[in-house]
Amino acid sequence: MSTIALDRGMRHGFSLAWRGILKIRKNPEQLMDVTIAPIVFLVMFTYLFGGALAGNTDAYLQMLVPGIMVMNILQASMTAGVQLNTDVSKGVFDRFRSMPIARSAPLIGAVLADIVRYVVCILVLLVVATIMGFRVQTGPAELLVAVGLTIAFGLCFCWASVFVGMLLKTPQAVQGMMFVLIMPLTFGSNVFVGTSTMPGWLKAWADISPVTLMADALRGLLNGGAIAGPLTGSLIWMVAAVAMFFPLATLAYRKRV
């Protein structure tokens, strides 16, 4: 692909991202399930179980917030597939595809618009957590890296959502399927409780789950502590997710549209 074609693809991608951002602005309720739901979990777990699980709620909150960030970003990345599926089934894509624009532009646009969604979700979560008493123990640089890493994590795993979005027929089916995938993925980790009391088979998975490793990396960045190990593990997962789901997603996309 020549640089001119790439440039056009990006430019068209930005135009379509602008559309995605307009849509978020017009339907802010689209952000509800990725902001309200994690906040409900945050409040519920902190005040209901925090004392029992970590001795006191403040200590639990410090442990929980990085984990909820991972959960939040996974749920936010689910929207990409739902949105693309909606566009395809509503015929909006037919118009785009009948125009002389880069074929990849709609995908690029959807993913670029997702970054805005991710930033909003993480910011809302951090503000609420701060009000509840969460404090970054390290520094602004570490916080920035943590936020950037979380967004990168979302961008890597959103290809799974795009893949499912292109595979299933209706937006509702995509939503249901992603929920079924993400729920066990987030709960089968150390986001809410340590893995030591889990049965062997679950502990074996939870210890190497991308959610656990990413949550640990964020804990290291925000609370201090080991970073290198979990960060390496997370990066491996992220590369693996892209290596597996990006080709699958683009293949399914080409077949579907």
Binding site: R19, D94, R95, R97
Partner: protein, 316 residues
């Protein structure tokens, strides 16, 4: 005359279903060709192939001389597409929808705004320009959809069932727009289930059934092909129905069909002179008629004769 669209032997399967089973289609530049057929006849599939959205399994097609499979980009720069279901973004306003498409067609920011305003003006949507498309009426949405397909000044326009689900007023508005486009030299491929629509807009009609072309020609040619003309009489008084039926039967040598509810008698004729004879005979018998006409069969009747089934979306 050069051809804007030429398709030869198009085949498209969906599993065991043959959506297209060897379709040939020619659309001369600047003309309107109506593709007529029931649901599932393959009309939309044909449009999707010609709009580069779908690869045919066999056969080939060119638009403006460019092959739809080998050079889709060149085809896309010539065409505009209005889908069966209005494919504008319902969350965005009229202006935003058009600006987005103009930007995708490489208009500058200012140029895109100007083009959007111009089209909104042309389609009488200026007052609603800032409102989300989902608040538009059916007719307004279809006009916006048409405007959206025209952003890039296409020379070939596909209208896939442009008035399905519209009320008669909104339908007339869409027809007026299409006529204006054709007057400006745009080539139009129109699919419709409505015979009246094809009759009103199309220069030639292609009838699809089961993925095949079953008839092709000018509307009046198609009507003539199916049979001669029809004589229709409705006596003023229902009491005269038997007498008129007898007279009409004697004249045409065919037993007229009789509609008891409307009091309408219909008989096929081959000789147009029979009309004046009938008038004389009715006069002699002292019978007056509310309705007396010699006409070509309706396209509904043509369609029935060609495909053996009623049109589902008949306007009648």
């Amino acid at each position: 005359m050069s051809l804007a669209i030429r398709a030869e032997g198009l085949v498209k399967h969906y599993g065991d279903t043959k959506a297209l089973d060897g379709v040939d289609l020619e659309v001369p530049e600047g003309k309107v060709v109506g593709v007529l057929g029931p649901n599932g006849a393959g009309k939309t599939t044909a449009v999707r192939v010609l709009a580069t959205l779908l690869r045919p399994d066999a056969g080939h097609a060119t638009v403006g001389g460019h092959d739809v499979v080998k050079d889709p980009r060149a085809v896309r720069s010539l065409i505009g597409l209005t889908g069966q279901y209005a494919s504008v973004d319902e969350d965005l306003s009229g202006t935003e929808n058009l600006v987005l498409l103009a930007r995708l067609l490489d208009y500058s920011r200012a140029g895109a705004r100007a083009r959007a305003a111009e089209l909104l003006e042309q389609f009488e949507l200026t007052d609603a320009a800032g409102r989300a498309a989902k608040t538009y009426s059916g007719g307004m949405r279809r006009r916006l959809d048409l405007a959206a397909s025209l952003v890039g000044n296409p020379s070939v326009l596909y209208l896939d069932e442009p008035t399905t689900g519209l009320d008669p007023h909104a339908r007339n508005e869409v027809w007026a727009v299409v006529r204006k486009l054709v007057a400006n030299g745009v080539t139009v491929l129109l699919t419709t289930q409505y015979l009246e629509e094809a009759d009103q807009l199309a220069d030639t009609i292609t009838v699809f059934d089961h993925g095949r072309v079953v008839a092709q020609g000018r509307p009046d040619e198609l009507k003539r092909r199916v049979g001669g003309q029809t004589l229709q009489v409705r006596p003023t008084s229902l009491r005269d129905l038997d007498a008129v039926q007898r007279i009409l039967g004697d004249l045409t040598g065919v037993r007229p069909t009789r509609d008891e509810d409307t009091g309408l008698l219909t008989a096929p004729v081959n000789d147009p002179v029979l009309l004046s004879t009938l008038v004389r005979k009715l006069d002699d018998a002292g019978i007056t008629a509310d309705e007396l006409a010699l006409r070509l069969p309706s396209l509904d009747e043509v369609f029935l004769a060609l495909t053996g089934k009623q049109t589902e979306g008949s306007l009648a």
